[in-house]
């Protein structure tokens, strides 16, 4: 999809992993408005795995710190399966392990525009 076309996430199944309910609900609404089908949201790596076992996921938004549990093992699994993902985080890039330093990041607090931009970049790069 070219960047200037109106962007739609129609029929995309989007997994949201975020431990704050209000942030997760907020992000879900923004992505649903863009046409996405929301999987979750879930607050832990285990719950995310359970969702992934239930059905296909096209892309994922990952909070980095989930109640002091790091999301990186899940990111590795997504990478292995070729599922694109975005880190949604309040941390700057420094906390990311070397292998994820080049990954897309959505800075908190996000806006509708910053979510759209992140999704567009993800789709363009995929």
């Amino acid at each position: 999809m070219a960047a200037h076309e109106p962007m739609s996430l129609k029929d995309k199944r989007i997994l949201i992993v975020e431990d704050h309910y209000l942030i997760a609900a907020d992000l879900s609404r923004v992505l649903a408005k863009l046409g996405g089908e929301i999987i979750g949201p879930v607050a832990s790596v285990e719950a995310a795995r359970a969702e992934m076992a239930q059905g296909a996921v096209d892309l994922a938004f990952l909070d980095i710190n989930l109640n002091e549990q790091m999301v990186f093992p899940l990111a590795d699994e997504l990478e292995k399966r070729g599922i694109p993902f975005i880190f949604a985080t309040g941390h700057d890039g420094e906390i990311l392990p070397e292998r994820f330093k080049s990954k897309l990041r959505l800075e908190k607090p996000f806006t509708v525009k910053s979510v759209k931009d992140a999704v567009r970049q993800l789709i363009d790069s995929g």
Binding site: L22, A25, D26, T89, D92
Partner: protein
């Protein structure tokens, strides 16, 4: 590594130097001391064989030729830097943990110099230095061997006619001995300073690491709070009838978050007492709520995240009570209580908010959808809580059951008045 480094004073000592000399060797001793610079931070121990015990002359010689203090050794004396300790004649002296021990000669095992050198090697390791001035003949070989093995330095004067091959580091004239000793001690002092500097550097960088981690944590917290505030603003706007309505609700929710941040940031681990959290929320709305509200439960400590979520839920319950519920009418009453449900496999905190005496109640109020969503969906999502919210005859009843874990902690089993 030097042994016997006890106090700060002891660690300041650069080396412990035993000087053995016959009474006839006072000339060598004078040469030696006059060649020593000030401030080497070494402790000197002088053993004079055939010495009758009068140290007046020695004190004078040493005082004249060097800036060192002179001290006849007494039982349990400590080694001191820039001091010459004079061993008593006809006694066996030794060092233990940098303190002198003196005993009577018993039998004829070892001579006083050998005895002292053995204890010096054992007590001070590579800090030990043995110097033999003038001909001492056989005595000392045994002790010097031990000192060498412990990593110490051995210096003897040329005129010492005894062959000590493989033990002596340098065979020198007396004045050169002081030069050699000086460079050895200066080298040791430099090594100590370098070690202290590198330790200091390590400490500094680990402090910087610590600060960076703390700042990272703080940044994470602040950004999350901003994201929550963004969400609060959106959710409040969705349900607001007009701008005034939005402002009132949004300010109330923001104040509730502000209050909990105040308590959370008071302690390093971000702990909050549940009773205090409830009190803060109620008193924020009703200055004298105690006539209408009973609060009771055992002492519970909440960490930042459950505290934030729970305080927002209690805020929603309180504002609802003030507008439409028990705090909107003089006949209304609220009982806020909590207790421990001590199931072995799943211990939980059961929190209950029960309003009574509300004459008219809207059975399915649509207006406060946000509070309801927070309680029915937010708490289960964030805290694995089981919750129920009922609008029934007489007032609201809300039950929230939270698992007890490392974020919801029991501090005291019973409340001050016996609990519930």
């Amino acid at each position: 590594v030097a042994k016997g480094v006890g106090s700060e004073d002891q660690s300041r000592i650069s080396g412990v130097v035993l000087i053995a000399v016959p009474e006839s060797g006072l000339e060598s001793l004078t040469k030696f001391f006059s060649g020593l610079p000030d401030g080497l931070q070494a402790a000197f121990v002088l053993a004079i064989s055939g010495h009758g015990g009068a140290i007046g002359g020695l004190r004078e010689i040493i005082g004249r030729t060097s800036g060192l203090k002179v001290k006849p050794v007494k039982q349990k004396d400590r080694l001191e830097p820039d001091t010459v300790h004079i061993l008593p004649a006809d006694r066996i002296s030794s060092l233990k943990k940098s303190r002198f021990a003196i005993e009577q000669k018993k039998g004829v095992h070892k001579g006083p110099v050998d005895s002292f050198l053995l204890s010096l090697a054992n007590d001070q390791g590579d800090k030990a230095i043995g110097i033999i001035l003038s001909g001492l003949n056989v005595e000392g070989t045994l002790g010097l061997t031990a000192l060498k093995e412990a990593g110490g330095l051995v210096l003897t004067e040329l005129s010492d006619g005894v062959s000590r091959d493989g033990i002596v580091d340098h065979l020198l004239p007396a004045e050169k001995i002081s030069q050699r000793l000086t460079s050895h001690l200066v080298h040791r002092l430099q090594a100590t300073i370098e070690e202290l500097e590198s330790r200091n550097e390590e400490l500094k960088s680990s402090n910087e690491d610590h600060q960076r981690r703390l700042l990272g944590k703080l940044q994470h917290r602040v950004k999350n709070i901003l994201a929550v505030v963004r969400s609060l603003a959106n959710r409040t706007a969705e349900r607001a009838e007009n701008l005034e309505d939005f402002t009132a609700h949004f300010e109330g929710r923001l104040s509730a978050m502000g209050r909990i941040q105040n308590i959370v940031t008071r302690t390093a681990e971000g702990s909050v007492d549940l009773a205090e959290l409830v009190h803060d929320e109620l008193v924020g709305h009703v200055a004298h709520y105690s006539d209408q509200v009973d609060v009771d439960g055992p002492e519970i400590e909440l960490r930042a995240k459950p505290a934030q979520t729970l305080s927002l839920a209690i805020h929603e319950l309180t504002t609802n009570a003030v507008k439409y519920g028990a705090l909107s009418t003089p006949s209304g009453h609220i009982r806020v209580s909590w207790r421990i449900m001590a199931a072995a496999d799943n211990p939980r905190l059961a929190f209950e908010w029960v309003e009574t005496g509300v004459p008219v109640i809207d059975q399915e109020p649509a207006r406060n959808g946000f509070g309801r969503e927070l309680i029915e969906r937010g708490l289960p999502y964030e805290l694995n809580a089981n919750t129920a919210l009922e609008f029934r005859q007489g007032g609201v009843r809300c039950v929230m059951e939270l698992p007890l874990d490392d974020k919801v902690i029991v501090r005291q089993e019973e409340g001050p008045d016996g609990g519930t």
